[in-house]
């Protein structure tokens, strides 16, 4: 019997019965299948709720395994501690492998042959799902006391297993751990126990998670970090380099210069971890929960969070494919990326896997799952809007008697108004720099205002925004282009937007003669996606 990657399955493992369940459902010929074997559901859906029940069964089963078993719940978390990359270009791909293999372990332990890790779409629902506060799905609950009620209990329970694990490492594994500055079990435990300056990875049961059932919402700041605008901006880059965090020489090494985080890793990923782990909300500022550091897989919410991160990578990948753009690094660096050794993954039998390079996880491939659609999916396969009408996605207007007319598809305006566009529509107006210090420097941009309008209030239906020159610079000549978001409530006849740019007049004020341009300043106008 083989697992999905063709590894031989042993029936003698600690999960023998469950593994047999897997084995009688051979899925080795994934390429021949028209759709994936498994689906990762939104945790809020009915199927997602079913999966959570199986997840709880699996977590309980894995917590009960001996700590020497590589699939023991806490022992598996240490794989993340010693091997996970953050802040470099292997972030997404390493976590795909980590979750993919552990998903098989969870599936086997759950007894549900259909199990796949549900995802928590925090953009759609920025609060921890209620069920994640129940039983073993919350590390602050009593079932965790036998393991983490205090540091000494945790150390006594797991240290023999961690020490034996280290003794069994290959030279290549030891080399990676040295690069990570974790050459010995003692070095790892020092980080787990922590110090008064940096705090600990370990947390006692009551402090294991800081968001509670009584107050399950992510805090206000974190909600902004997971909001549509942030996530869409993270999905927008068209190169692998910009979607991901920075290229490094090893997934265990810092870059030569500063780490540069991709938007999705650096912002929603980090902040969700930290908010759940108590960052920003602790009475003792170093008393973090598990999610605040690399022992975070102790908290079961970790896998729902990272399932969503992997889903967003999948969304980005399919968006790129739809655009005919690359989904991996360019040829010049592809080999470096793909050949990076990932040496610590184990299968549901607790055996090291043969797929020990990053490139083995560039595609979902043999893990054979897909995702129930969630936030971000809307950026894929939308009917072409601006892109279909101009090669550079820019709709230029024609100026007649100082008024710019731009024709925009009604569907584009409608989707913009309902925030369905991945990128908001904006109007770009080009006007000359002020010719003199006393000339008007601020202008209002009006859309479909009646001819002859000379003043509008910000709540006017015609008002799009005010643009300003910053001071008067004698050496600045020529034209300047300003960008203003299109208002939502636009229903132009024939899809034509009439754009005017008039000098801004503050309430109760009047323009002087010098501030009043002799003629319209508008020199060019366009609508584009930003």
């Amino acid at each position: 019997m083989n697992d999905i990657f063709g590894n031989a399955l042993s029936r003698r493992g600690v999960l023998g019965a469950a593994a047999a369940t897997l084995a009688v459902n051979p899925i080795g010929s994934v390429l021949a299948q028209s759709r994936p074997r498994f689906r990762r559901y939104n945790v809020r859906s009915a199927k997602g709720q079913e999966m959570l029940k199986s997840y709880a069964v699996a977590v309980k089963t894995l917590m009960a395994l001996k700590p020497e078993d590589p699939n023991n719940w806490f022992r598996n978390a240490f794989t993340h501690t010693v091997d996970c990359p953050h802040g470099n270009w292997w972030f997404f791909i390493w976590h795909r492998g980590y979750l993919g293999w552990f998903e098989q372990t969870l599936r086997a332990a759950s007894g549900n042959p259909e199990f796949a890790i549900p995802y928590w779409d925090w953009t759609e629902s920025p609060r921890i799902p209620a069920e994640m506060f129940d039983g073993v799905l919350n590390p602050s609950n009593p079932p965790y006391n036998p393991f983490i009620k205090d540091y000494q209990t945790f150390y006594n329970y797991l240290n023999p297993a961690v020490t034996a694990w280290f003794h069994g490492f290959s030279p290549a594994q030891h080399q990676q751990l040295e690069a990570r500055m974790m050459p010995t079990p003692q070095a790892v435990w020092a980080l787990v126990k922590g110090d008064p300056t940096n705090g600990a990875m370990f947390a006692t049961t009551p402090k294991a998670r800081y968001i509670t059932a009584a107050s399950p919402d992510l805090d206000e700041n974190t909600q902004k970090m997971v909001a549509p605008k942030m996530v869409r901006s993270g999905l927008a880059p068209t190169t692998f380099a910009n979607f991901n965090s920075i290229e490094t020489t090893s997934h265990n090494k810092q870059p030569a210069g500063p780490s540069v985080f991709g938007v999705l890793e650096g912002n929603p990923h980090n902040k969700v971890h930290n908010n759940i782990g108590g960052v920003g909300h602790l009475t003792n500022p170093l008393d973090f929960g598990y999610m605040a550091d690399n022992l975070s897989p102790v908290d079961p919410i970790f896998f729902l969070h990272h399932s969503n991160m992997d889903r967003l990578w999948d969304v980005w990948t399919r968006k790129q494919q739809k655009l005919g753009l690359p989904i991996l690094p360019p040829d010049s660096s592809l080999a470096t990326f793909e050949q990076e050794p990932f040496l610590f993954f184990v299968n549901s039998q607790g055996k090291p896997v043969a797929q020990a390079k990053a490139g083995d996880y560039a595609h979902i491939g043999a893990f054979d799952y897909d995702y129930e659609p969630g936030f971000g999916e809307e950026i894929i396969g939308k009917p072409a809007l601006v892109a279909s009408t101009a090669a550079n996605r820019r709709l230029s207007g024609k100026i007649t008697a100082g008024v710019g007319a731009v024709t925009v598809p009604a569907t584009a305006l409608q989707q913009n108004a309902t925030n369905q566009n991945a990128e908001p529509l904006v109007v770009q107006v080009t006007i000359p720099h002020p010719a003199t210090a006393s000339a008007a420097r601020e202008f209002d941009v009006l859309i479909n205002a009646p001819a002859g309008t000379t003043q509008v209030a910000p709540d006017s239906p015609y008002y799009a925004g005010t643009i300003s020159f910053f001071g008067f610079m004698r050496n600045m000549t020529g034209d300047a282009t300003f960008t203003v978001p299109l208002p939502d409530n636009l229903h132009p006849a024939n899809g034509v937007l009439n754009v005017q740019v008039i000098p801004h007049v503050a309430p109760g004020a009047r323009l002087t003669a010098r501030q009043t341009p002799a003629k319209s300043v508008l020199k060019a106008v366009a609508v584009t996606a930003w």
Binding site: M225, M230, A236, F261, H273, K322, I380, A384, F482, W530
Partner: protein
């Protein structure tokens, strides 16, 4: 040099630390010149480089009018290592006459918000990245 570094290099713009007001300030204002987008397919982002900060410390970034831009919230950074560079999307409405001013503030539980030191935030810059969606 990968594209990201390339973009960062090309946008290594001069930035100006505005002088604090007389009273104690919780923020440090940084003014950046925003160059025109190289093409309509380029998205505008703010890159904030963060040095060594204690665990649990965050950097809040807003516009002078209080509009939120982002929060640097380092995760799993090794002790003694710089926290890295974080990238946040910018809206066109945040730009005034080709300039962007951002306010930076350090927050940590139990302490009053304060402006970051130059070591804590050594660099803030504008980054253009090629963007696109299948529309």
């Amino acid at each position: 040099m990968n594209l990201r570094l390339c973009l960062l290099a090309m946008s290594a713009l001069t930035w100006l630390v505005l002088p604090p007001a007389a009273e104690a300030q919780a923020t440090r204002a940084v003014q950046l010149t925003v160059p025109p987008a190289p093409s309509p397919q380029m998205g505008l982002y703010l890159a904030v480089q963060v040095g060594i900060i204690t665990r649990g410390t965050e950097i809040q970034i807003t516009t002078p009018s209080g509009e939120w831009i982002g929060t640097v919230s380092p995760f799993a950074i090794r002790a003694g290592q710089p926290a890295g560079t974080y990238v946040f999307p910018l809206s066109p409405t945040m730009i005034e006459a080709g300039h962007l001013t951002v306010d930076l503030s350090v927050t940590h539980p139990g302490t009053t918000a304060r402006p970051p030191t130059p070591d804590e935030v050594p660099k803030v810059s504008i980054v253009y990245m090629p963007v696109g969606t299948a529309r």
